[in-house]
Amino acid sequence: MKKFWVLLVLFVGFLGLAQQYGGTVVIAWGTDAVRLDPADMTDNPSETVLRHIMDGLVEFDEGLNINPCLAKSWEISEDGTVYTFYLREGIKFHDGTPFNAEAVAFNFNRIITQNLRRTALFQPYIESVTAVDEYVVVFKLFAPFGAFLHHLSHGAALIQSPTAVKTWGTEVGKHPVGTGPFKFVEWVPGDHITLEANTEYWKGRPYLDRIIFQVVPEAATRVFRIESGEAHVATRIPPTEVPRLQINPNIEVMVRQTLRVIYIGMNNQKPPFTDVRVRQAVNYAIDKELLCQSILGGYADPADSPLAPLTWGYYSTGGYPYDPEKAKALLAEAGYPNGFEATLYTPKGRYLMDYETALAVQAMLADVGIKVRVQVMEWAAYLSMLERREQEMFLLGWAPSTADGDWVLRPLLHSANWSPRDNNALYANPEVDALIEQGMRAMGQERYELYKKAQEIIVRDAPWAFLYVLKDINVYNKKLHNVQYLPIEILLVKNAWLG
């Protein structure tokens, strides 16, 4: 009899854990999607929705490794300029259009020939895309490009139905059709987007019947939504709400590291920041550990490179330990024994605790004699200010949407990309420029070595004060299982089920 009960308990427990079909999941998030056209969207919510509706040739897993998806395999030519993809057969888009090499070529030819918002992610590299067979597609590049597979894993490389693009034209962003596990149902702007299961999905029917993405701009309200059971997932939760949610037996708090490095850029072309010792002094004067623990409540890790640890190519340089004495010595050596005055610009509310960080940095720099005025600016005005190269010190964050080091080093630290492009610190080092350019053309370990060297030089040159790598806090109801998180700040429930 005892055995029976034990077995029964185990069986019930198993039922609770086993994948179950059915149910609707409601996701409460802060902002609405903008356009559901992969080639023409730049926002995170649109990409999240699209990653449920569409597949790419390749895809990221949660560790940002690149795995086959619609392409079952691929070959790269010796010189690195020709990529041949072998596609899975027998797959159909939600509208019945067959998925084949023609469809892939159509998608990429559209993005490289038209002026879409993600054109620049592919146009500079792809010379041509040709369907050589029903299920074989060949990408010819202008030059070898080491980060190409990362670009193909980007949300912009998701494949949509050519029929839908032809039917809807410029309105296709309201009618997304892919091969993915969920089909688009409706979009009420500013309110919600509904998806339903694609029962014919080539990897097998998804567990959930429906997903509803609901726009709930206020974080406190998102928390209420999950507490009241109206939503199963709530995204971007402020750290202050976490302790309360952690003691709720129905709620799981998911804290994951992102690729977002927060830094304070210094204008490398404007004294006193032209002197590397001054820039190094600023780095030594900031207690990164304290910032992470006290200001960010533990939801960040100190940064020791312009790349986050999960970004491809990251190398742990050791960074700058907190050493105010060394900072003072360096300042004295540079001819500023009594410090100097500078303005630190910061946005407020753009990044988690951005303004609070600026204030803490102000206090830390004051300890070594650097008197900093903190000036808050609204985001749009802030970006315009950076374009005009008026900045002395500025707080910013960056996360490469391709998850590759190239998309940090090149835009932010190559001297060809000074403001109004994204090298707002106006940093220039020919050696780093050369390493970045070689890195573009190299592959694998060789590329990693080049990036490693570049990071060592950059950290030594200290164009920025490297602050921290942010974590993302999302919460979900414990009834929901297998919620996935890509560190490019994308939360996925396409493989989730309700228990």
Binding site: V34, N115, R117, K174, P189, V216, T221, E378, L383, S384
Partner: protein, 306 residues
């Protein structure tokens, strides 16, 4: 009466033209580049340049202005920079939502305000009066955000009677309109009380009483009717304000209305949507004012328009 209408219509057109012009230039005076915001922070610079060309932002402002006016005259409000949807499509259903919220909230506040204010005036300095005025004071001074959070927590999370926000059913409108309405009702209550008290002390009320009319007739037919004129002004203004200024309520309750769209669009420098919002809000304001004028004339036959 016809001349009055024509005059008002011309004024309305002038107001709308001024609003369009102001919205157009004020937005462009503010620092910030729409292309930069829309392209996304990590967008390559080429994308931003292409966007500027595409949106026509590389042309002189005056050319942009003339083009915009031209398309407005053809009834074309343009397309959102951000979503590429027509502005009217963006505004349409949000305007409807805002209208629903505003009407519900103002109806609730008018009912509550008139009741509290009226009863207080009839029995001034009584316990009820003191109680009602304290409630009114709290209503005026309690921040909407705080009120909203308390309501959501009590009715949404603890009692689970009403949803904590969003749209869809009649139940969704209850908490937002209660929150917004409560804040508005306080002003109406205090206004009603003081105006009614003043009217009740007038000679004509004493005369009415002396003539033997019942207290109910005296209050409703003579005193209240006169007392209502300033109250109607306040209600009209509140309707106008809640159409444009219910941003907080809309944000906290995730109510997709015009106020939230306006604020979001300002931050995104989505000029066509901002301009569209301004036109809609100004039009509604002007319309409400006109309706208030009409109600005046109904309440007080001495007020007539020639």
């Amino acid at each position: 009466m016809l001349a009055f209408f024509v005059r008002r219509l011309l004024m309305l057109l002038f107001v709308l033209f001024s609003v369009v012009t102001m919205a157009f230039f004020v937005m462009r005076l503010a620092p910030g580049d729409p292309a930069r915001i829309i392209a996304g922070f990590d967008a390559p610079y080429e994308t931003i340049l292409a966007l500027r060309r595409e949106l026509g932002l590389d042309r002189p402002v005056i050319v942009q202005y003339v083009r915009y006016l031209g398309s407005l005259l053809r009834g074309d409000f343009g397309r959102s920079y951000n979503t590429r949807r027509p502005v009217l499509e963006e505004l349409g259903w949000r305007y409807k939502n805002t209208l629903i919220l505003a009407i519900c909230a103002v109806s609730f506040s008018t009912f509550l305000g008139l009741t509290l204010g009226g009863l207080s005036a009839i029995k001034p300095y009584s316990i009820f009066d003191n109680f009602a005025m304290v409630v009114a004071l709290l209503g005026v001074s309690a921040p909407i955000f705080w009120l909203a959070v308390i309501f959501m927590w009590v009715f949404g999370v603890k009692l689970r009677i009403f949803p904590t926000g969003g749209t869809g059913t009649v139940r969704h409108i209850v908490l937002p309109s209660l929150t917004l309405g409560l804040a508005l009702s306080a002003v109406i209550a205090r206004m009603t009380r003081s105006c009614l008290l003043e009217c009740l002390g007038q000679d004509y009320v004493r005369t009415a009483r002396a003539m033997g009319f019942g207290e109910r007739t005296v209050i409703f037919r003579y005193a209240l009717r006169n007392a209502l004129i300033p109250v109607v002004t306040v209600v009209g203004l509140q309707l106008g304000y809640s159409l444009a200024g219910a941003v907080l309520t809309e944000t906290v309750f995730a109510w997709p209305g015009l106020g939230r769209l306006l604020v979001d669009s300002i931050f995104a420098r989505d000029y066509p949507v901002v301009q569209g919002c301004f036109i809609f809000v100004a039009f509604t304001f002007a319309l409400t004012n006109f309706l208030v004028d009409v109600v005046y004339s109904l309440l007080d036959p001495r007020i007539r328009y020639h």
